[in-house]
Symmetry: C2
Subunit: 227 residues, 2 copies
C-alpha cells in the first residue's frame, strides 16, 4: 500500500508523484549547443515516475547502445493544485511550490535525435529506469529566489554545467502557466525547469556530482552524487 499525503514531501513520496513535467529549451545557450529552434512558448514533456532515482539508490543504468547525456535542472515540487495559472502571477506561482529538489534529466540523446527526425514521441529517450536522479528535498526557505541560484554539474570533478537560473528564457510563472493551461498540476507533482548549457555524455564509471549555490553558498540538501 502506498500512502501519499498532501503537503508532506519526503524522498519516498517523490516516486509517488502524480507526474513529472519537464520544460525543454529554457536556456538560450543550451538551445544553441543542440542546434535547436528557440521556442515561442515553453514546450514540455513527461518523464515517468518510474525513472526517479532517489539519493543513494544507486547508479544510472546506461541501456545498451545509448548515448547517455546529463542535464542538470532545478525541480519544483508542488504543494497545491494549479490550473490555468496566469503567466504573470509570480506570487501565485511561488505560493504553489512546496519545496525544491535538484535533478538530472538523463537523456538518451541518440534516441531523442532519431525521434525528432521521425516526428516520434520523446518518452523512450527520456523515460528509462534511473533516468531521473534527484537530490534530497530542499526546504522552500533555503531558496528565497528560485530565479537567482546557481546550478552546477561536474563529471569526474570537471565542471561541465554552471549557470544561474536568471538565464531561464521562461520564468517559473510562465512555465506553470503554460503547463497548467494544458494539464492540471496536483500536489506532489514535479516540474523540471530546463537545463543550462554544457550538456554532454557520460559512460559507466563516470561520477556525476551536481549541486546548487545560493549567494555563493552550497546547499547541502541539493547535492547529487551518482555514477
Amino acid at each position: 500500500m502506498m500512502i501519499f499525503k498532501r503537503g508532506l514531501s519526503t524522498m519516498a513520496s517523490l516516486k509517488k508523484a502524480g507526474k513529472v513535467v519537464c520544460i525543454g529549451r529554457n536556456y538560450a545557450d543550451h538551445i544553441t549547443e543542440l542546434n535547436s529552434a528557440r521556442p515561442k512558448q515553453p514546450f514540455f514533456f513527461l518523464k515517468p515516475t518510474s525513472s526517479i532515482l532517489t539519493p543513494g539508490q544507486g547508479p544510472v543504468i546506461r541501456p545498451r547502445g545509448i548515448d547517455l547525456h546529463y542535464e542538470v535542472e532545478l525541480a519544483l515540487i508542488l504543494g497545491k493544485q494549479v490550473r490555468d495559472l496566469n503567466s504573470n502571477d509570480l506570487k501565485g506561482a511561488l505560493d504553489s511550490i512546496e519545496s525544491y529538489a535538484l535533478s538530472i534529466d538523463m537523456t538518451a540523446r541518440n534516441v531523442q535525435n532519431e525521434a525528432k527526425k521521425k516526428g516520434l514521441p520523446w518518452s523512450i529517450a527520456k523515460g528509462f529506469d534511473t533516468f531521473l536522479p534527484m537530490s534530497n528535498i530542499i526546504q522552500k526557505s533555503a531558496i528565497p529566489d528560485p530565479h537567482n541560484i546557481e546550478l552546477y554539474l561536474t563529471v569526474n570533478d570537471k565542471v561541465q554545467q554552471n549557470d544561474s537560473t536568471e538565464l531561464m528564457l521562461f520564468n517559473i510563472p510562465q512555465i506553470l502557466g503554460d503547463i497548467s493551461r494544458v494539464m492540471t498540476l496536483e500536489p506532489g507533482d514535479i516540474v523540471l525547469t530546463g537545463t543550462p548549457k554544457g550538456v554532454g555524455p557520460v559512460v559507466p564509471g563516470d561520477v556525476m556530482r551536481a549541486g546548487i549555490r545560493v549567494n555563493g553558498k552550497e546547499l547541502e540538501d541539493a547535492k547529487i552524487e551518482v555514477k
Copy 2:
C-alpha cells in the same frame, strides 16, 4: 490523503495510476489513414494521469483552436510489476494483467501534426485534462482472449470505429516486453494498446459511445458514453 492498494482496481484508483503508457500505430489501417510510417518496433508515449476522465465525470473539454480526435483503445490495468518481459511470453504478459478497461485516447491532432513536423514531444497533444475517458473496470474473466474482441466507437450513433483486436500489429506480450525493457511497469499502471482505423474529429455537442463485444456480446462494464 490518497490510498492506493496493489491488486485492487477501482475507478478511484485509476486516477492514482503511476503512469499511463500508450502504444502508437498498432493497427495497419490506422497507420494508412494517418499517412504514418509502419514501426519496426512498437513505440509508445505517456499520457498524464490528470487526463483521465472516469465514467460520469463529464464532458471531454475541447481546448480552443484544437482539432480533437477520438481513438478507441483497449486498456490493460496491471496487477504486477513487469520488467524486461520476454516478448514471446504470452502467459507472463496475461498473468501481469489484473483487469481491463475501455479507453478513448483523445488527441489534439493539429498539435500532434505540428509536433511531428518540428520534432517536438507529443505530451501536449495527448495530455490535456479530460483527454482520457475510461470505462468502468472490466473483470479479467470477462475477456478470455484480449487478442480476439471487438472494439467499437460511434459518434452521434454513427459507427466510426469497429475492429477486432486480432488486427494488432504487436500483440500484448510484445507491447509489454518493449515497454518494460525501457520502463518498469508497476501495479496499477495503465497500458493503452493502440487504435484501429476510423479515427476522426468530434466537436462540442457530439456524443461518443464506445464499447467492447466478446463473441458478439456487449460487455456492460466496457461502455463509455461521453460528450
